[in-house]
């Protein structure tokens, strides 16, 4: 391909370093604090930038969905080098299930103009339902290769090494297509200072669910309802000892007691 248009789906999530919490009113994950770019999505952004560079031209854009107007995580992707973004922001989206999310993302991608390639992470770090990419491909009517660990564009096709249970499969997939990429597939670049400054001026278009004509969404469109949240039986901590140079003996006796050795 001479030029490639790629859309990367990115999710803005609460910082995974801070402990997660549930909203007692809705029984869903709290997502009202500061949101950052999901680490898993940095790989997709980097992959897209590399494929566009290899093609010799084109454009990487990003699409994200959030119940509020948060763009901090999107700015990180723009600072890495994505050209522009679409944010679907609408309080009505709160409570949307994975299928509704896929329909919304598909509608936004179609409205912005179908690209040659859609890239997503294999799953988000906070919700990890793990079905949105493949659902999105089905809604868009695209072939897909999930769990891509190596991707090359060859003419109007993709050549992908896809993770499998016992190793990997080589897959050929004509474009346009969707792939989900595994963490570690490429080394995401750190945004440069110039990149961060430029990102502030890059365009993020905001659409609502109504702009996209997808109904019903949010709680109303969800095919599921949380009925209970309970504490699981906790595993108790056992003996903790400081290594004095002989602590390996503790492990030996522990294994002996279990008759492992």
């Amino acid at each position: 391909m001479d030029t490639m248009k790629i859309v990367v789906c990115v999710k803005q999530i609460p910082d995974p370093a801070s402990p997660g919490a549930m909203d007692p009113a809705s029984n869903t994950l709290k997502r009202d604090g500061k949101l950052i770019l999901d680490d898993s999505d940095a790989y997709g952004v980097e992959m897209a930038l590399q494929l566009v560079a290899a093609a010799g031209g084109g454009e990487v854009s990003i699409v994200s969905m959030a119940p509020n107007g948060e763009t901090a995580g999107m700015r990180t992707a723009l600072a890495m080098g994505a050209a522009k973004g679409v944010l679907i922001s609408d309080p009505a989206l709160a409570g949307s299930d994975a299928l509704t999310t896929a329909k919304i993302l598909a509608a936004a991608i179609a409205k912005a103009g179908l690209p040659d390639l859609v890239i997503a992470a294999t799953e988000s770090t906070d919700g990890y339902t793990g079905t949105v990419p493949e659902q999105l491909a089905e809604v868009l009517g695209l072939p897909s290769v999930t769990f891509a660990k190596k991707v090359k564009v060859d003419g109007s096709s993709l050549k992908v090494d896809r993770q499998s249970e016992g190793g990997y499969d080589e897959v050929e997939c004509p474009l346009p297509a969707l792939i989900s990429v595994t963490a570690g597939v490429v080394e995401p670049r750190y945004p440069s200072f110039k990149g961060i400054m430029d990102a502030k001026k890059k365009e993020i278009v905001t659409w609502t669910a109504a702009d996209l004509g997808v109904t019903p969404v949010g709680w109303a469109g969800s095919g599921q309802k949380i009925v209970s949240v309970a504490k699981a039986e906790e595993r108790k901590a056992g003996q903790v000892v400081e290594d004095d140079g002989e602590a390996f003996n503790k492990i030996v006796s522990f294994l002996e007691n279990l008759k492992v050795i």
Partner: protein
Amino acid sequence: MSNNVNNVWVFGQISNGTPTTFTLELLTKARSLSTNVVAFVAGDGAAAAAELGRYGATKVYATGDLAGRMVGTAVASAMKSAIDGGETPDIVLFPQNYEGRDVMSRLSVKIDRSVLTNNVDVAVTGDGVSATTPIFGGNVLVTTAFSGSAPYLVSFRPKSFAAEPSGGAAAAVTTVSVPDAGATGTARVTAVHLEETSGPKLDEANVVVAGGRGLGESTNFALVEELAKLLNGAPGASRAIVDAGWVPYSYQVGQTGKVVKPSVYIAAGISGATQHMVGMKGSKNIIAINKDKEAPIFGVADLGIVGDVHKVLPKLIEALKGRK
């Protein structure tokens, strides 16, 4: 058993003519939900029909050779076609793995039904069908009920159920049609590569020795491999060092990797991120070695050694060698 569940499907996987353990686990659960259990498999079902029946499948629906078509699109199309043809599954159970996720996702759009993923149990009550998933590293269990109508699509983590034979007869095999999936069906598998492994498989081993970032550098993973070998176990890894490229993805234990429940799990230089803990907390005995005494892994360890893995592991290896 509830009256409103008459038919349960399991997306079954067959490897070298034998159903995978994961498939047998799901069949065991399926037969507790219904007396009509269909194993819906990609490829040729004949060779596996006896084993599928022995674990509770009453029928096998098989797609026949897919000739390189992607399992996700092909099986979802075949399932949709069977449903359009009058089949009425109330619940479809999927393994939470590469192919299971693909089939479930494609089918969910084709029949416009919600999915519940990453579950460890499913229940049918008067109110309907609900499934339970662990979150926050397994500290909290969330139970979610489907609203709307069947079929309900549910996926499970490995080892959520123990596979137990029912002693059922070989299941009757029906070959189902795989309709043309148009543009969505154009990807093709052109080659299959299997990684050579020696020793027990990670998710079946009695002992697992896993290494993390605390090992410092990739060459130190040799210590983990050596200890695993001495204990006739399998080496495993945290996501951090898989992402860093030290070891292949197939070594990964955790939320996005393998779920293991060995007799003994030894975590060397692993701090115990939620991502990792959900994959190993079900181990019968846990030994942790970590420099940081505040590391969360010590909260679940039966024996915790606060120390340097570079000192503890070589001594442990020497001591075990001395016993041989």
